[in-house]
């Protein structure tokens, strides 16, 4: 079976070029260099139809950048993204446009992703009318049906975003994404800003929608508990690179990469009693100046000389992929 979404060595660089004055200053001997961040460095993975893939990592690891590239909101610097076999790497191309409508994104903060001057009816209905999925005459009923699908009273259609609570706003964000009948949803920290009890409601909604509408998700989150709950497979990122990919059960029961191990170790858990919090040494390095070799080696308890010099390859064994020298002939 071919994958629904396929990423091949997808990269994203952000560069700050020197301006004319700075170039002149450099010619006169100033120590100025172009700054470059490899936000995403050769990320490859696949998502099968009907699957939920969790993308986890700490802030600055590139998980949101990756999500935005898949959604077509950010151009790709290198590599290839294929959706149902079609190359959609160049977001502006005709074939990509058509396919990209099948991919929709749900953002973290519904207050800043919903237009405060539009009524819910327009926020949800606008794209559907534009793409010819409904007509101006029938859009009201179309929106009502969507609102019901996400668990809101159709009466909300006449409200503005500021008249709703955070949980309700996030449901509007979901309804808007569903309005163009997507098959693939990218949820970028979509529940991070919500209270615990509201979070549970939205997670349940995601599960229901997945079943009813046969959706596939790329679920981006820093919250490992949520990802463990909702995902079938998990992709772990650290400083722009993928370090581990595995089925959720395998990853949480037997993480192979030292970073994943440390991360799982440190999640505060219920039912663990009084915890002695164990810690990984050090801070997350600046992505402007990442350590050579394996990015994790300065914080890794197992690091050896090879880790400092050589970027680890991704080794796959029984559906469990790890980029660590420990699993590739030792450090």
């Amino acid at each position: 079976m071919s994958a629904m979404l396929e990423l091949k060595a997808v990269s994203r660089r952000f560069e700050k070029k020197l301006d004319r004055i700075e170039r002149l200053a450099r010619r006169l001997g100033a120590d100025l260099r172009e700054t470059r961040v490899n936000a995403v460095d050769a990320a490859s993975f696949t998502v099968d139809r009907g699957e939920v893939v969790g993308l986890v990592g700490e802030s600055g690891c590139g998980k949101s950048t990756l999500g935005r590239m898949v959604a077509g909101l950010l151009p790709v610097s290198g590599g290839e993204i294929r959706f149902e076999g079609t190359d959609i790497t160049d977001a502006a191309s005709g074939q990509a446009r058509e396919k990209r409508l099948r991919i929709q994104m749900i953002f973290q903060d519904p207050m800043s992703s919903l237009n405060p001057r539009l009524k819910v009816a327009d926020i949800v209905g606008e794209a559907a009318v534009y793409h010819g999925l409904t007509t101006r005459r029938e859009v009201a009923g179309y929106v009502d049906a969507l609102l019901e699908k996400v668990g809101l009273d159709p009466g909300f259609a006449q409200r503005y975003p500021h008249q709703m609570s955070g949980g309700q706003r996030q449901r509007i964000g979901i309804a808007r994404a569903l309005a163009v009948q997507p098959e693939f949803l990218i949820c970028d920290e979509s529940i991070a800003a919500l209270d615990v009890s509201i979070q549970a409601q939205v997670i349940n909604l995601f599960q229901d929608l997945r079943r009813d509408l046969d959706l596939t998700y790329l679920f981006i989150s820093h919250d490992l508990g949520v990802v463990e709950h909702i995902a079938d497979r998990v992709v772990v990122m650290y400083l722009g690179r993928i370090v581990e990919i595995a089925h959720t059960g395998a990853l949480f029961d037997g993480p192979r990469h030292p970073y994943t191990q440390a991360l799982l170790d440190q999640v505060p858990r219920l039912g663990a009693g009084r915890q002695a919090f164990r810690t990984v040494k050090g801070e997350i390095p600046s992505p402007l100046n990442p350590p050579p070799g394996c990015h994790f080696h300065p914080r890794c308890p197992m690091a050896g000389p090879r880790c400092r010099a050589e970027v680890p390859r991704m080794i796959t064994e029984g559906g469990h992929s790890t980029a660590c020298h420990l699993h590739d002939g030792g450090t």
Binding site: S165, G167, L263, L270
Partner: protein, 326 residues
């Protein structure tokens, strides 16, 4: 020995939309070296409780009732001058966002030395020494050099450490920490939790840890109080409350948390949403969302009842009998 004893604290906000009873009859006490987790969702009044203890509530809010006994002294009726003498000295506060609490245009050194010399007549050199010790204690590498830096030169986790170091400067008896690790990454959060845990143990500082994250409290606090709509609905020793919650709200909160070996199952969700604090329902504020609510709940607000050793509840139909078993 009891460090803090809060009895029937009421903090109300007098707004155009009506009186908002943000904190309405909150009581708890805290001994030396004890960690209290104050848990609740947004708008439950947990932060206002913390601010009330330090008397930092701004108008239109006001502490309108109750006692805040700190080492026997009632902070609710203390003069502003005496209160200033206590703040940052005997009682310190750590806020969620250290970027907001550190002055961006002053070096860390200036801010720390100032905090020491505001309360004690010591030489600048002695104050500087104390600042270096405090920074070292919270795990900041090469503290003497870092004193020269400005807040923006630190990462988020390091800034929060600086804020904690400032709170520790004068060896306070009580620290009120308001969501101090919420904005931080998991690995940084666990470093800070480890350090705070050690501090409370070593120095005997009492700690109020305000958070929405039950899992953080589970590992850190000795006892917890769960707030809903301005009231503490359940309190008791952490393990007891988390393993056998007595209030339907606590039970619902625990059920809402994903992970913990219930992969893919439906989460038990609390229906509805948090009430409008300006228009609270009659009776129990949780009744409209509660699966156990009856006519009594909608008519009368439940009082505080005993629920086993060290535990208390505000519920007409607790999920727990008085002996403390579920």
């Amino acid at each position: 020995m009891t460090v803090l004893d809060v009895q029937g604290l009421q903090t109300h906000f007098f707004t155009d939309a009506g009186v908002v009873k943000a904190v309405d009859g909150v009581s708890f006490s805290l001994g030396e070296g004890e960690v209290l987790g104050l848990v609740g969702e947004s708008g439950s009044g947990k932060s206002v409780t913390g601010f009330s203890i330090l008397r930092l509530v701004d108008p239109p809010g006001r502490v309108v009732g109750g006692q805040i006994l700190f080492r026997g002294q009632d902070l609710a009726h203390l003069g502003e001058r005496e209160m200033r003498g206590l703040r940052g000295n005997r009682i310190a506060m750590i806020f969620q966002d250290p970027m907001m609490t550190l002055n961006p245009v002053l070096r860390i050194e200036t801010q720390m030395v100032e905090a020491v010399r505001a309360h004690e007549r010591v030489s600048p050199a002695a104050a500087r020494d104390r600042a270096i010790k405090a920074l070292a204690r919270v795990g900041i590498p090469s503290p003497a050099e870092r004193l020269e830096a400005y807040p923006h030169q630190f990462s988020g986790g390091m800034r929060q450490r600086v804020a904690i170091a400032i709170a520790l400067l004068n060896g306070p008896d009580l620290i009120v920490a308001d969501e101090p690790t919420t904005a931080l990454d998991v690995t940084i959060q666990s470093q800070i939790l480890a350090e705070v845990q050690e501090l409370a143990r070593e120095t005997g500082t009492a700690l109020i840890w305000i958070t929405h994250d039950l899992a953080v409290v589970a590992g850190l606090a000795d006892k917890i109080s769960v707030m809903y709509a301005g009231r503490i609905v359940e309190s008791g020793p952490t393990d007891a409350v988390l393993t056998a919650p007595g209030h339907p709200y606590t039970e619902g909160l625990l059920g809402s948390i994903p992970g913990h070996g219930r992969r893919g199952e439906r989460l038990t969700q609390i229906p509805g949403m948090a009430p409008n604090m300006a228009r609270l329902p009659e009776g129990c504020a949780f009744a409209p969302r509660c699966p156990r609510a009856s006519g009594t709940c909608r008519a009368d607000a439940p009082g505080i009842s005993d629920a086993g050793p060290g535990r208390s509840l505000r519920c007409h139909h607790p999920t727990l009998s008085a002996e403390g078993t579920a």
